[in-house]
């Protein structure tokens, strides 16, 4: 009987192709929009997640809270303190620095390029591998001697020297109010998808690495310590341990010490993004409602047109239920067909968008399943009234209908 109903429904849909298609269009657009929007949202989240992974999921900074009212000089960290923390927690912490950076302008003859150099220790690549294409990364000797050596990103190198292959070239820049000559020891390349670049807002400044001993020499103060825990160390479990230690050395309450980990931040951004994509998806789902009303409308027309057929079927022994199921199958099938076409459309839009923006796109299977299920439900729900109208028809009246 199910197969019989399906073939009858298919027959009815096929015998009015244009009308069926126009009716499905509402569902097609609705489902297509929901899939596209939710998938774009998911892809954006993915870009952010990747960006955070870029920053390092096992990274955190620790500082004396900005909320304390009596901020003291001793609340700053200096290099010695950093070294001590490194010593104490050497089995937990893989990398630590004073989170120093130099915001400056690199000058090569007449060429001036704005740069933001990140001060790093020589083992930075242990926690953040870099794709070195020319030369080498900052090494231990550079850091120890506070050598004026830098590693540039390839596109910044091109801007400054006209070529990425510029190892050994020199330029001048001012760090800590002191203008000196610097030598390029390496060039790295970083892949960033257009979408990620757009979302993360890669500004005007070029990027590069410099020994942190150059940017923050002995005696310089830093408000925060930047560290990466070793693989297998749980950040959440480690936090109280380091907080306790820092609180003791700074003579502060533990509640005055803040640790901000990338994982925590990512969680909060992720939940905001997913809430946003759910909200927009919800708005798109309203169009499904409109599509459902379209189906109901056409089913009403269909029931009226086929009054005589309903009369014949009833005379030949169809029960109320049989007629009801026949029309419900028709509306559900029409809606589900629309849903499937909508999915194809939505996925196509997302794929094309992803190809254009060179971004990996994600279409969650659960979203697809929900979309089909929902469109089927829309069909059944909006089919109930027309179907029951058909089922309740009086066979004598219906047979007389012209």
């Amino acid at each position: 009987m199910l197969r019989e109903n399906m073939s009858m429904a298919l027959h009815a849909i096929k015998s009015n192709k244009m009308r069926s298609f126009l009716t499905m269009l509402g569902i097609i657009i609705g489902i297509g929009a929901v899939i596209a929007i939710v998938s774009v949202g998911d892809s954006m989240r993915n870009v952010f997640t990747d960006a955070y992974k870029d920053v390092g999921l096992n990274r955190a900074i620790i500082l004396v809270s900005w909320e304390v009212t009596d901020f003291r000089n001793s609340d700053y960290f200096d290099r010695d303190e950093m070294e001590r923390v490194k010593e104490v927690f050497h089995d937990k912490i893989a990398y630590i620095d004073t989170n120093s950076s130099a915001d400056t302008e690199a000058v090569n003859r007449l060429k001036k390029v704005k740069y933001e150099f990140q001060g790093v220790d020589y083992n930075y690549t242990d926690v953040q591998p870099q794709n070195i294409i020319y030369g080498r990364f900052i090494n231990e000797a550079d850091v120890k001697k506070a050598a004026n050596h830098v590693v540039l990103e390839d596109k910044g190198a091109v801007e400054l020297f006209g070529t990425a292959d510029c190892v050994g070239r020199t330029f001048r820049m001012t760090i800590n109010k002191d203008t000196q000559e610097f030598t390029v020891v390496g060039v790295y390349h970083k892949d960033l998808s257009p979408m990620a670049a757009m979302l993360l807002g890669n500004g005007q400044k070029q990027a590069g690495f410099i020994p942190d001993t150059v940017v923050s020499p002995k005696g310089a103060m830093s408000q925060v310590l930047n560290f990466y825990v070793r693989d297998g160390v749980n950040m959440k479990e480690f936090q109280p341990e380091i907080v306790k230690y820092i609180a003791k050395t700074k003579g502060r309450k533990e509640s005055d010490i803040r640790v901000m980990s990338v994982v925590d931040q990512m969680g909060s951004v992720d939940s905001k993004l997913s809430a946003m994509s759910a909200a927009v998806g919800g708005i798109a789902a309203i169009s499904l409602l409109v599509g459902g009303i379209g189906i109901m409308n056409i089913m009403m027309v269909s029931v009226t047109e086929r009054t005589r057929e309903i009369g014949i079927r009833k005379a030949l022994g169809a029960r109320t239920r049989d007629i009801m199921i026949q029309f419900l199958t028709e509306s559900a099938l029409m809606s589900a067909c629309g849903g499937v076409i909508g999915i194809i459309l939505g996925v196509a839009i997302v794929m094309i968008g992803g190809a254009v923006l060179k971004t990996t796109v994600i279409v969650r299977p659960s979203v697809v399943v929900m979309a089909v299920g929902f469109s089927g439900l829309v069909g059944i729900f909006f089919g109930i009234y027309p179907a029951s109208k058909a089922a309740k028809a009086d066979p004598i009246e219906a047979l007389r209908y012209e």
């Binding site: 079927r313 005379a315 022994g317 109320t320």
Partner: protein, 266 residues
Amino acid sequence: MWKKKEVIPDYITQNISEDLIKLVDMVKIYDTGSIKVLGLKRVNLTIKRGEFVAIMGQSGSGKSTLMNILGCLDRPTMGHYFLDGIDTADLPSDDLSAIRNRKIGFVFQSFNLISRTSALKNVELPMTYAHISKKAREKRALGLLERVGLGTRYEHMPNELSGGQRQRVAIARALANEPPLILADEPTGNLDSASSVEIMELFSKLHNEGATVVLVTHEEDIAAFTNRIIRFRDGSLVSDTPNIPVSKREKEELQEPEHQSGDALC
């Protein structure tokens, strides 16, 4: 479809009574809201298994009302209608559907085939509602189309068939579930006289093979094919007479041009 086992009461599926149709003091009143119209007045009537009966009357005589009640499309207001021993007066509409499906084969004036659906599928329809398997349905429907002389046209749509052919499909459909009663409402009303004769001969053949055929008509020529003529006037049964079916010679007479009155009388 909801995996619910279909339970058709035994009394619907078994043939239990020699009196196929039995009307006892049957009254039908139409309640139109403001006025009540008496459709049928105290009708008492018995039709036995295997009879070939014509019910005659002018429009407004109550023959259509009777037809609807005999066809279980409507219920009597008072009195009883026993179809094959089943009192249909108090049955719920789904049971009436089951009775129509198993006990009655309908043939209508306007054929009432489902459009854009092949002759084969049309014949299969009553069997679909009787939950007969697809294979068995197809086999039986093909056999029935063969029997009414349309064995090669099973794939044709109703609009590709002539009036007479359509009515043959309808008759094949009426026979689908082997119902004890064939109920034909003005079956030749939309046909030319040649086709009319063919259709009536088909009914005669079915009758000779043992079927009970009740047909409603206002044409004497058509009623002449039957064994018994029951006349109605103003909602009352006025006469019930046996009839000797027309001979072969008279049938030929009916085929002559001056007798083409089928459509004119509609």
